[in-house]
């Protein structure tokens, strides 16, 4: 049968292989190859060895700031957001008070485009008419009213807030995992007289190690992509207060026309992501059996 199907197998795979080459393989070759060159639009790349990388680490404060911000956001997203998502999953799993409504609404920001989420927050936090400042003034503390996205002291915090709703994906994954725990386990615990709180802490949570590890990886790596919300709200500013690596790549490549340099940042971004994934896999012993 296999022999007869050989032609069909090739025929069925070929289009996807072409797509993969066009979108991924060629990109990766260009990315690595040109990261060792000086290259701008319309010119031929000139090989300069490790000069781009040396400059990145020794003489580029914008890059350092972008890297630092990206790192902090990866850390925040993979801890606080995973914690929020997990707590919410456990609450939703109790199936009380309008839980279906809560579950549905909670997903809204994950369905609409990041640009739209950015727009919503931009409006909410607008210094002149935004709801947040209006509420602050309503309670009489006009001093706390801010130009949230453009003030050096609040910009980083405000951008971080816009990502809170993305904890929903964690909740979904964990709800699915809880649903897979056999009911008999809970029943025997209840018969032994365990309270709901104890069941959550001693039965459900320990069984979630693998999936929580996966969520940490997912939430963290998602921060290596984030561009749309930052572009909508702060554009990386004020100064480079909310700049991250994707925005920095965009700026050096398409605004400063510095392709070779921008691609060395791209290589660094991939390396950073890989290191993070490997670290988490070891930390949570993903793939190994329970305990």
């Amino acid at each position: 049968m296999v022999r007869k199907n050989k032609g069909y197998i090739t025929l069925f795979l070929l289009p996807t292989v072409v797509l993969f080459i066009v979108v991924y393989a060629v990109s990766i070759v260009i990315l690595f190859g040109t990261s060792f060159t000086e290259w701008s639009s319309g010119r031929k790349p000139i090989f300069i060895g490790l000069a781009n990388y040396i400059q990145l680490f020794t003489d580029d404060s914008d890059f350092r700031q972008s890297f630092l911000n990206t790192g902090v956001w990866v850390l925040l997203q993979s801890t606080i957001h995973v914690a929020i998502g997990t707590v919410f999953a456990i609450i939703l799993n109790m199936k009380e008070f309008y839980w279906k409504f809560a579950r549905t609404v909670y997903m809204f920001p994950n369905i609409i485009s990041g640009a739209a989420v950015g727009m919503l927050f931009l409006c909410m936090l607008n210094p002149d008419f935004g709801a947040v400042n209006s509420i602050v003034r309503l309670f009489g503390n006009a001093d706390y009213a801010q130009n949230w996205f453009m003030d050096y002291t609040t910009a980083f915090f405000s951008v971080t807030m816009t990502w809170l709703p993305y904890a929903a994906v964690v909740t979904i994954l964990i709800l699915a995992e809880i649903a897979a725990i056999p009911e008999s386990l809970f029943e025997s615990a209840r018969i032994d007289g365990a309270s709901e709180l104890k069941i959550n802490f001693y039965i459900i949570l320990p069984m979630l190690r693998n999936i929580i590890g996966t969520c940490v990886i997912l939430a963290g790596t998602s921060m290596l992509q984030k561009m749309d919300i930052i572009m909508m709200t702060t554009g990386g500013g004020p100064g480079n207060e909310t700049m991250n690596l994707p925005i920095y790549i965009y700026k050096t490549a398409l605004m400063e026309n510095n392709f070779g340099y921008s691609n060395s940042v791209g290589v660094f971004l991939i390396g950073f992501g890989l290191a993070f994934v490997l670290l988490c896999r070891n930390l949570f012993r993903i793939g190994s059996s329970q305990n």
Binding site: K4, N5, K6, Y8, F12, L13, P15, T16, V17, L19, F20, V22, V23, Y24, V26, S27, I28, L31, F88, I91, F97, F101, A102, T104, V105, Y106, M107, F108, P109, I111, S113, G114, A115, A116, M119, L120, C123, M124, F129, A131, S134, I135, L138, P165, V169, I172, L173, L218, L224, Q225, M227, D228, P246, I249, A253, F259, N263, G266, I270, G273
Partner: protein
């Protein structure tokens, strides 16, 4: 003990309320403001609009080429999804069912693509698309999005194919069906739920994508809705009501799709996420 229990309940309700407020609040507030005049927005930003006028929505379509962006988004969404599902349906089936040389190499390469953050590929893709003569063309976006959804669709579809019993195909072969006939007449129809899940995920990707759209297009010819918002930001700088209306025009279809196809979206997010 009783106080502790009460405190926990308060905490629980408070947490849920906060999450609902955070997810729904901005959406409702902008929806409300999209019916207001500029003066109302500035003076009465928290209040109800005096009357529900749709003039902001009319203006939004007049000031900006919103309908052009809309058509582009619909075209990119539909064809980006169809192309992705057709190609990955075919290759996913072969990868799930048959043993052949280079299989492991292919699987490895395809899953490696998961580890490449899109942002790293910005400039290389710009170069590829430019070289192919597809810069600022809707076709360019369709191809890039079909490729970008490769790992997730492959995962969802091939795990679905694995659940189909082999006997189905064997009896089809015995009845004299060819490979192509078996795939299109037997496998595709049974796999509808799998294609539904992958399709919803892929459509949302095409509909919401921002970073490739911004580097692969210029002008208004081939831009999609998320970019429309980015440009409205400055165009509508002094016309808040219209800006709000434009935002709603972009958001509402996604929310409607979600409410209609909740099951597929949720299972898609879970499947896509585990792999990602």
């Amino acid at each position: 003990m009783r106080i502790l229990k009460k405190g926990l309940v308060v905490l629980k309700y408070g947490f849920v309320l906060l999450i609902i407020l955070l997810s729904l609040g901005p959406f409702l507030w902008v929806l409300m403001a999209s019916f207001k005049t500029n003066a109302e927005i500035l003076n009465n930003s928290l209040g109800w609009p005096k009357s529900f006028r749709f003039s902001n929505y009319v203006m939004a379509f007049k000031i900006a080429p919103l309908s052009r962006f809309y058509i582009n988004s619909v075209i990119v969404g539909i064809f980006g999804t169809l192309l992705n599902l057709l190609l990955l349906g075919m290759s996913g089936y072969v990868l799930a069912r048959f043993q052949f040389r280079f299989k492991n190499l292919l699987m490895g390469a395809f899953s490696l693509s998961l580890l490449i953050p899109g942002a790293a590929m910005l400039q290389p893709l710009y170069l590829t698309v430019n070289t192919l003569g597809l810069y600022d063309k809707v076709v360019g976006l369709i191809i890039v999005y079909a490729g970008f959804g490769l790992p997730v669709s492959l995962y969802i579809l091939s795990s679905y194919f694995l659940t189909i019993p082999k006997e189905m195909e064997e009896s089809a072969y015995l009845d004299g069906a060819s490979f192509i006939q078996t795939f299109f007449r037997i496998i595709l129809p049974i796999s509808k739920p799998g294609f539904g899940t992958a399709g919803v995920m892929q459509f949302l990707l095409c509909w919401n994508e921002f970073q490739f759209a911004i580097i692969l297009t210029t002008g208004n010819q081939s831009r999609t809705l998320p970019l429309a918002l980015y440009y409205f930001k400055s165009q509508f700088a002094s016309d808040y009501g219209v800006m709000f209306a434009a935002t709603m025009v972009v958001i509402i279809p996604s929310i409607l799709v979600y409410i209609l196809l909740q099951k597929q979206v949720v299972s898609g997010l879970a499947a896509g996420a585990v792999k990602g």
